[in-house]
């Protein structure tokens, strides 16, 4: 019985560790990507965004998503991939007005992404 209690407590501790660790990790990783997107947004607004800027944001996302795949459903990552590809393609062609809209969508997605995995009533039900 003592062994069972120890196993249970270990499992609870493990779960708590995973819960807090995952939430912190998603918040920080998506937060960093969100900041990069904000910078890109400002540059697009000023019409100074370059191919390199778009490329570096893409690289940053590629690095983050390989780890985020472990913690969030892959469909959510695909949405970001889709909108980011479109935004980058527009920046490459200097179509800043259209790219702005795509980046806005991305900003909204990355703003809400960590929230959709946090313990909130609307997420539970």
């Amino acid at each position: 019985m003592v062994k069972s209690i120890i196993y249970t407590l270990v499992a609870i501790a493990l779960c708590l560790g995973i819960f807090f660790g995952t939430q912190y990790y998603i918040d920080s990783q998506v937060g960093k990507f969100h900041s990069a997107l904000e910078t890109l947004y400002d540059k697009i607004e000023e019409k100074t965004a370059t191919r390199e800027d778009a490329y570096s944001v893409r690289e940053l996302w590629a690095d983050k998503k390989s780890k985020l795949h472990i913690f969030i459903p892959h469909n959510d990552i695909s949405y970001v991939d889709y909108w980011l590809s479109e935004a980058c393609a527009l920046i490459y062609r200097d179509e800043f007005d259209l790219a702005l809209g795509k980046i806005e969508v991305l900003l909204e997605i990355t703003k809400n992404l960590p929230d959709s995995y946090s313990v909130k009533l609307e997420n539970v039900f």
Partner: protein, 223 residues
């Protein structure tokens, strides 16, 4: 991840509640919470395996959640006795020396036909072959048998006031004849809880809310 844990917990307790409400007819040799775990584990393991868009960690966390909930329920069972009744239920005495307790049957969402089937499964073919019969918390039927069993196979003629025409034909009887027999006992057909007859014409007759009687009647069927 905490969200997955919380959702699994909610599903676990919802299923447990539903299983408890369904009564013993739905369980069959498992405690309600064991059945819930069996139902959940297969699904939880299967979804992340089959759907590659769901991280494997989701399945692992859900299964660990089930393990924790199982341990908690088990420990509560050990330490806090009333909890055992809440989670697992308690045995229901459905046959006493006075006959069938219809209230207990209803409490477990069972009818007389289910009881007779359980008795046959346990090796008793006549309702008066046992002094006491009960459904354990896990849905298994247990009985204290009489020293002498009646070696016949009775057919159910009336189940909760409703005559069984097919069985009546097997016994060579008609519904009118059954009604007549019931009125001879001072009882309307709708007030008969159970009536069975075997090939020797031995009748088990129990009106609702009254003790059973063993009577005789003429039967012409062969079975």
């Amino acid at each position: 991840m905490a969200l997955v844990f919380l959702r699994t917990t909610i599903i676990f307790f919802t299923l447990l509640l539903v299983m408890r409400l369904m009564g013993k007819s739905q369980i069959g040799e498992m405690q309600p919470f064991e059945l819930v775990i069996t139902l959940l584990i297969a699904e939880l393991a299967c979804i992340p395996m089959a759907d590659s868009s769901v991280p494997l960690l989701y399945g692992i966390v859900s299964i660990v959640a089930i393990f924790i909930l199982h341990q908690i329920v088990w420990l509560l069972d050990l330490w806090f006795k009333p909890m055992k009744t809440v989670v697992c239920g308690k045995p229901s005495l459905v046959i006493t020396k006075e006959g069938i307790d219809s209230y207990q049957l209803r409490q477990n969402n069972l009818d007389v036909a289910d009881l007779i089937e359980s008795m046959r499964g346990a090796g008793y073919f006549n309702l008066d072959d046992v002094y006491y019969g009960l459904y354990e918390a896990n849905g298994k039927f247990s009985a204290l048998a009489k020293e002498q069993l009646t070696p016949t196979l009775p057919v159910l003629l009336v189940d909760s006031g409703k005559p069984d025409e097919k069985n009546a034909r097997i016994a060579g009887l008609t519904v009118d004849k059954i009604k007549e027999f019931a009125s001879e006992q001072g009882c309307k057909l709708k007030n008969v809880l159970v009536m069975t007859v075997d090939s020797n014409g031995r009748v088990y007759f129990q009106p609702k809310g009254k003790p059973y009687k063993i009577l005789n009647m003429q039967v012409s069927g062969q079975w």
